[in-house]
Structure formats: C-alpha cells, structure tokens
C-alpha cells in the first residue's frame, strides 16, 4: 500500500493496485462523521463502439445503454440493493456521465459492511428480460423529465452543436426509442467488457482506519473470479477541430429564452501533462472573463444580456474538451453576437502578473474549500487518476503555472470555427 502525505493541504492518501487489477484509493478522515464510498468504471455513454471481451469484432450498442445498465445493477434476483443499504443505514446512489458510471453510498455507521455491499452489488449482475422491460417505463419518465428542462436541453444542445461525430453528442440516457431495443444480453456484453476490475477504481473517504480497510477490500476481491482481461478496444470516429454547427435553435415552451455559447476545446487524447495544464488554464481564463469579477461579465450585465442564472463551465476528459457559457436571456440573438465579439477579442488580450496571481490564489482557495466535501475528494481523485494525474498535486501544479503559459494559451484559445451557439426559444 502506497502512502502519500500532502503536508500543505493536510491530506494523507493511501493507494494500491490489487492483484485483480482494481485500483483502490483510501482517504481516512477520523474527524468526520461521514464516509463516502465511490466505485467507478471507466465506461460512460460515449463508449458505444467496442470489441466485447473475448471477441474479435467491434459492435455498436444502443444509445443510453451505460445508463440503463447503471439502473439495472440495483436489482437482483431476490432483492433490491436500495434495501440492502437501507438496512445498513446508508444512502446509495449512482450516476452515468459521458465517460464514467459510478456507484456510491454515504453512511455514518457499518462502514466495512457498506463497502462490501457496494463492491458486491456492482460485481454481481443479475439481468432478466422481465426486469429489463420493467425499467423501460422508469427510464422513459426520466428522459421525459429532462425533455421539459430547458437547462438540460441547452447543455446537450450545445454539445451537439460542437461535436459532429464524437458519441458525446448522444444524450446520456439515450432516447425513448433507443432504450426500447435494449436486451438483457446487451447489458451482459457491456457489463463483462467494462466492469472488469482493471477498468475500475474504488475510492473511500471518511471515518475508517486505512490498513484495516485495505485488508478488508483485498479479502473481498480475493474471493471473486475474473477472466483475464486485455486492454479494452474502443473506437471513436475522427472528430474535426471545428464545430459541427455554427448555430442551433431549439423550440420549447419557455418563459425566458436561453442562449449558450460553446467553445470546442479538445478533440484528441492529451498527455497527462498537457491535460492538466489545459484543464487548469481553461478554468482560470474563463474565470478571468466570466466570473462576477470578470470584465466580460460586467459588459454583459451592463447591457442587460444576462440573468442571475448566468454560468460557465469547462471540461477536459478522455478525448474531448469544451467550455460552455450562457444562461437565461431576453435577447438570445444579441447575447450570441456580443459573446462571439467578446470571445474573438481575447486573441489580442493578455493578463498582467498581478491579475494572474489573484486568479491563481482564488483557484487555490476554492480548491481548499471544495476539499471540505468528501464527495468532491472522491470524485476528483478518480477523475484525475483515470486521466493519469494525481489530484492531490493540483495545488502545486496551480502554483507552478506561469504567466507566459496563460498568455500563450490565450493567444490561440479562440478561433471563430471553434464557437457554436445554442438558443432555446419559445417560438
């Protein structure tokens, strides 16, 4: 077991790769009441085309299958996993993203039993035709719920405006039609390919003793048999650097229109070093322009183009990256024009040493603040691990960023062909 002390941020992290290939991170915090366990597979809605384990030829599975599988792992032949956790006083949950499927619990007691329940239910699938059929009604209502949410439509609409071929343009839950075709055999195929321990990470944060917990997890894993796995072969279509559409308009019965501008940031897999630089610089630069301290934010506000739900976010993951900026606006056309004008002007802009220092300090403070959250710690530890980065070195990496790097990034950040606009309007 590897033990890492990060003195400045007062964190100690234990990790180990078990003989079956499972990566385990343990972050004990004896002062906390709560423990959070997160068991994640490096498999999400975008893993649509792949070679199933033990086979030679690639297949393409129905849209929304990773999410469907997430739902179905909670149901067993004789019982419901929610009840198992309920008996142990824990709250379980799960989520599916473009790149990951994650199962989790939070609890204040019975920590080992809860970790065991988490590992065992995810590693013991039971799918039947009847239970797969039953789930279609539930997921249909989940999709319909999102259909009525302008925020979600705006998000996925902007992603679809940016990416032409990449499967992140597929809605995570799929469509009402696509999920109808899913069978129990499809679920088993995806399960056996992507839920192999070599493709998974377990992270437990909270109130427990690290040595005992690691031994407990190892013993649990030794009891289980897994076939030998080779590297998973996934395939992704070529993705151009420029956006798929300049503009997209979605008509929905909204009271206030929405407009989001997307910046297509990354379309290929980056090295770990490039990944983290890009990740941090995107965040710092967006913050510089669009936070409440940002000069673009002030312009948009003064021109009455934004509302209180204006927001921005940025992501780099596996082989894609994007930034999204927008929100409700009464004038989506003028908002879009102004945003494009502002973004294009960044080519000639540069940050001062003083400003850059303020942005770095802010980022550091915010990182510390976020680290209060056990959920955040576990999710980020796994996210960065999968992308080859030690999350706990982030504060050092932030401090080492230089003004030149930021200004170099800024010079080439925006070109017109990387920008897309998505409007949600009533008519």
């Amino acid at each position: 077991m590897k033990k890492m002390n990060y003195e400045m941020i007062q964190e100690t992290v234990y990790s180990k790769i078990l003989p079956n290939g499972l990566t385990v991170y343990l972050i004990p915090k004896r002062e906390r009441a709560k423990t959070y366990g997160l068991f994640t597979t490096n498999y999400g809605s975008m893993d649509q085309t792949f070679v199933p384990i033990g086979e030679e030829e690639p297949i393409t599975v129905p849209d929304g299958i990773a999410h469907f599988l997430e739902h179905k792992l909670f149901e067993k032949e004789d019982r419901d996993v929610f009840a198992d956790f309920g008996r142990l006083g824990a709250s379980p949950n799960a989520y599916t993203s473009f790149t990951k499927t994650a199962y989790l619990f939070s609890a204040t007691d019975n920590i080992e039993a809860n970790v065991e329940t988490l590992l065992d239910f995810v590693q013991d699938p039971y799918f039947s035709e009847a239970s797969v059929e039953k789930e279609k009604g539930i997921i249909t209502q989940e999709i319909k719920m999102y259909d009525d949410q302008p925020d979600w439509q705006s998000f996925i609409g902007t992603v679809q405006g940016m990416f032409k071929n990449h499967p992140i343009k597929i809605d995570i839950a799929g469509t009402v039609e696509s999920i109808q075709t899913i069978t129990k055999d499809d679920l088993y195929t995806c399960y056996h390919t992507f839920y192999h321990p070599t493709n998974m990470t377990l992270c437990v944060v909270g109130n427990f003793e690290a040595e005992e917990m690691m031994t407990f997890i190892e013993e649990n894993q030794m009891k289980k048999q897994f076939v030998q796995a080779n590297e998973i072969k996934r395939s992704f279509p070529e993705e151009p650097a420029e956006v798929a559409m300049k503009e997209r308009k979605i008509v929905m019965p909204v009271s206030i229109a929405q407009c989001t501008v997307g910046v297509k940031e990354v379309t290929t897999k980056l090295s770990a070093e490039e990944f983290i630089k890009r990740d941090l610089l995107q965040e710092i630069i967006l913050d510089y322009y669009f936070s409440k301290a940002g000069k673009f934010y002030e312009k948009l506000y003064d021109e009455n183009l934004i509302s209180s739900n204006f927001s921005f976010s940025t992501t780099v993951d596996r082989n894609f990256g994007y930034s999204l900026i927008g929100g409700q606006t009464t004038e989506p056309d003028r908002f879009a024009d102004k945003m494009i004008e502002l973004l294009l002007s960044t080519n000639d802009d540069s940050l001062s040493e003083e400003t850059f220092l303020r942005l770095k300090n802010k980022k550091l403070g915010r990182l510390l603040r976020a680290m209060n959250s056990l959920e955040y710690l576990a999710n980020e530890t796994i996210h960065y691990h999968i992308n080859g980065i030690d999350f706990f070195q982030l504060s050092d990496i932030i401090q080492s960023l230089t003004l030149d790097e930021a200004n170099d990034f800024l010079k080439d950040w925006i070109t017109e062909d990387k920008l897309t606009v998505c409007k949600i309007v009533a008519k």
Binding site: A107, K249, M252, E298, N304, L368, N372
Partner: protein, 437 residues
Amino acid sequence: MDAINEKTIVTNGFRLHMIPTTKYKTIHFVVKFKALLNRETITTRALLPYVLRQGTENYPTERKLQIKLDELYGATLSIDAAKKGNHHIISFRLEVANDKLINETNNRSLIEEAINFLKEVIFAPKTVEQKSFDPQIVEREKKTLQHKIQAIADDKMAYANMRLISEMCAGELYEIPVYGYEKDLGNITATSAYEYYQNMLTEDDLDIYILGDFDQQLLQNTISATFQRDHQPTEHDVELTEGATIRKDVKEVIEKQPVQQAKLHLGYRTNTTFRDEDYAALQVFNGLYGSFPSSKLFINVREKNSLAYYAASRLESHKGLLIVFSGIASEDYEKAREIIELQMEAMKKGDFTEQELSETKGLIMSSLRETLDHPQGTIELLYQQVIANTKLTINEYFERINQVTKEDIIKIAEKIHEDTVYLLTAEEGQTDEENEL
C-alpha cells in the same frame, strides 16, 4: 458522539453563535435576518439580496466587490432569501480559507479581513446621498428578480410546488411566495428599498453563526468591536394562531401546459410542526412513507408499477405540511394518485414491520449525522431551533427519534389529512416531439 459545540452569546443586539471545529479547511460566517412573512414587504425583501450583491461604499461595483473576494483567496459571498414556516429569512454567507493552510508570507489575518468585509456588505451598501440605494442598480436588479420569477414556470417541479402551495394555503401567510410578486416590482424605488432595509437592519431578529477553526475569545472580541446595533432579540412566541384548516373534500386542481411529463403533487396537513414533541414521530413517518428509496412511495410508484422516475415526500416542518411529488405520464394520473393515496392508508393502518421502523430510524439518524458533517448543514440545523424557538440538543433529538414506536406513528398518521391534489398535465392532442428548426 456527534457533540456539536455551540456557544451562543446575546450581545450588541444580536445572538452570536460560535461553533468551533477543526473538520474543515475553511471558516464560515452566516448572518441571518428574520421577520414574519408580510404581503406588503415581501417583494422588497426578495429584491434586497440582489441589490446588496452589487456593491458597497468601498467596493462600489459588483466587479470590485468580487475582486476583493478573489483577493481573500477566493472567498465566497452569497446572499439568499428563504421561507421557513411563516418567516422570511435573508442570509449572508461568507466562506474564507483557513489561514493556516495557505502559504502566506505577510501576517494578514483572513478572519479579521473577512469580518470587516462582511460588515461592510451588510451595513455599508452603495448609496446615493446616504438615503437611497443607487437607482440604476435597483432598476437593473428589479429586472433580475422579474426574470427569476418568470423562470419558475420553466422549472416544472418548482412550478408545480409553488402552484400547490398557493392553492392549498390560499388565505394563509404561507401562501406568500419567497421571491415576491412581479406586479409589485413597479412600486419599488431605490429610496423605498433603502428605507425598508434600514428598518430591517434594526427590527429583524439577527443571528450570526461562525463555524470553523478559530480562537474563540479573539473572535468574540473582534465581532463585538465590529458588529453593533440597537435591538433586543424578541423572546416572545412568534407562532401565528392561524387555525388548522381541515378541508372536508380534497381540493383537486388540474392545469394544462405543453409538457412532456405530468407533475403530480399532493399536499397533506400534518398538524404537527418542528416545535411539537411528536415531530420526531412525524419524521419517522415520512421516512417510512416517502423520503427514502426504501420508502413506500418509491417502492410502489416506481419499482412495482414503473409509473415514475421519482416519487417522494418531504416535510415543510415549520408549517406542518407533507408534500408528495412525482413525475408521471399524463395518462397515468388516476392510477398514480390511487397508489400514492393507498400508501397513506397503509401507513394509517400501521402496515409496516418493526424491522422497517428500526431501519428507517437508522436512516434518519444517519442523514442527520451527515448534515452535521457539513458546515452549512450544521448551521441550518442549529438555526431550526431559533425559528421554532426550541432548545433541543442534537442528542436529545436523536433520543426522541430512537423512542418512536409503531403506535406513535399510527397516532401521527391519524393527524395527517389530505388537502389538495395538484396536477400539471399535457394539453390534449399534444405532439410528443419538440420541434427543431
């Protein structure tokens, strides 16, 4: 076990609550102003958080204010308004990193800077001639609030909840929406808002919470030297004597809109509030009925009948309401409603096992402990006591939960009456697909 060390001091016209803990990497300041809901002032109160966020005497624009926060190592400031029972509460929340974790070479004290900054935001907003807010800011923020009010219609779950409350509690104080009324915005001016704010600063109940790793005596001195106002906290009982209404027939409200998913919300009167001794039994009741994935609603509406993705219930603990909410297909209204009502009947009959009862208690206690493992959660939970004017320690409350029996739950169930059913459903002959241009 989960001892929360809260030290409360009544001083300088407010209550200071200090909660020392080394669990977190940040220090939290929460300042809460509380007044009874009032139809006349609600819109001004709803507007204030937006106006105050726009600038102070020394940081006269939102941008300058934010740059100051950034310089405090990305400190965060939020100002929000909430409704708890018949009260309206405006909270200022400031969070700063703990100095100890930051490699500072100069000897600045982030805590002291934070306290002074917070004082400025509250007591020295940007004014014109010291008797009015900046009219330009007020006009701009009236638009912000107007959009916020309008946008509720775009969040169907929130909209259905608002509509249910307004139908169910018509004529009661609680019907007043937390964000006020769009039609009242026209009457608000920079001067009227400022005048009201000055009243609020002196008349509202004021509680200041500070949570984190700090030197208590030093902090208490700094606060005493910084915050002062003329006010005596009222100890009188503020519960209003609005009689419990029992409707003879359940009120049914059906509204049609072009939606993909219908929202079915049911409102029950619990006739029990946070201050009552049997509130613990109500919380356990709600756990068995609808607040967990192991509850009757989730199991029967979702798992057994595949009617919904979510079906749950929650308590409006200071008002005495239990709200059921679910998203269903429009054509499943009768079926879903029947299943939800049947679960309530089952609860009244005591149709649950001792094991389910004890597991539910375990889940409630675990979720309380989790809330106490979160800085804002701890403060909000402690503040419940202020709102309800009770003085129950966390351990006493755990003990009450522990002692709830099956009989207690049946007794509490008998006090619960179905009041209003609200359905937001699709228009006739609506096409199923959104149009794309």
